[in-house]
Symmetry: C3
Subunit: 163 residues, 3 copies
């Protein structure tokens, strides 16, 4: 691997990591910086541009005591100024008493592009895999991307668009 490819991979990984730091520390500017200005987000209960996403997500975060978005498996298909990254994660949301009460397993399937030397998200599918709640009924009924185990999984759709 060339040094340039290593730098691309490091920059792409940091985009996803900084997104989570922004969400968990309520630093919305940091969250915004991980998308291009015309970036699109598909979330459970939301579908639209980054500006609208921030308006939608921040009040929900503020109603919670805190969140922790752990990131795990991170695999990148890199193609010049474009990339598809799949990142596994587990998000814990708690109320003010710091007892874990609502956990989700997800994958971020990200289409990233490099513009003027900066890697950022052009389009994200926040794919829900599973949920666990200690307070039944709290999950709501919002819909959004869900994981599949065939070639219609959002990962394969994003990779197909890359190639």
């Amino acid at each position: 691997m060339s040094g340039a490819e290593y730098d691309d991979r490091q920059a792409i990984h940091e985009v996803v990591l900084r997104y989570c730091r922004g969400i968990d520390r309520l630093d919305m500017d940091l969250v915004r910086s991980t998308y291009h200005p015309d970036g699109i987000d598909h979330h459970t209960g939301f579908d639209g541009g980054i500006d609208d996403f921030l308006t939608w997500v921040e009040p929900g975060l503020r109603r919670l005591g805190g969140t922790m978005h752990l990131l795990a498996n991170h695999l990148v298909d890199l193609d010049g100024d474009q990339a598809v990254a799949e990142t596994y994660g587990q998000a814990v949301h708690w109320s003010e008493h710091r007892q874990g009460n609502f956990t989700t397993g997800f994958r971020y399937v990200d289409h990233l592009t490099r513009r003027d030397g900066r890697w950022a998200v052009s389009e994200r599918w926040a794919v829900r895999e599973w949920t666990h709640s200690e307070t039944p009924g709290s999950l709501g009924t919002a819909v959004g991307p869900v994981g599949r185990r065939d070639r219609d999984d959002p990962l394969y759709l994003a990779l197909a668009r890359l190639r």
Copy 2:
């Protein structure tokens, strides 16, 4: 670290990551590609070669609604064309209703080798650490590698064979 060592480490990490992608997306060819043809797997309830492993594991996966194998801590001891990688993980298995119902903590202790330029698993110990089930009784009684906190842990046995 030399560029060659970096490439080896990246290739080894991707072997373990692609294994999980294959399992979670039911892509058995991808799973197979992460072992050498004579690769051996030691799992809870299974002990044998990669072909038999695939025959054993696929029906169990298909009976589930889905799985998510999160990988975390990854430490590699590299020695030329051989390596021992320890990778921590947490696997969530759910039924068709997407409620997490059976979770395991594990470590993959992998003896990897490079043959004709390709890194793949020669022998894996899938070491079970803990389990949690929301449906009591579902864990079964199968046996397999378990973690220890002395020098008989599978990690140290694999490292001893490397050195």
Copy 3:
């Protein structure tokens, strides 16, 4: 990124990974090797130097059946011979029957320094985020660093000292 910076980042990540291997395998020498001799640790229920930390932590670990400290998100701000690393983690502690019974979400906020070519922890804040216990009442009432979502979070305090 230069090769030297890559080596620094790899060495810093391994410090945190080896700490967890040491704790989970009860290898106290390995734990000790990840701190400088005058290293400081701030933990839930402990505040002091590395020697006292080891004396404090080992009996508690031995009373358990086992532990697994999964590490996830790892972001490093590097400044010459100093660095601040934030590492997300989830620790599972179990009794002898290998049923997960007490889990914590945490962040290690580490001030690391390089001395004589060796990166190690100079000061650690083990920041507790959330806890989950299957055996109510087992968490105790010890105090220590906790996460915040404003600029008084231990991460920002450590970064401010770096800059």
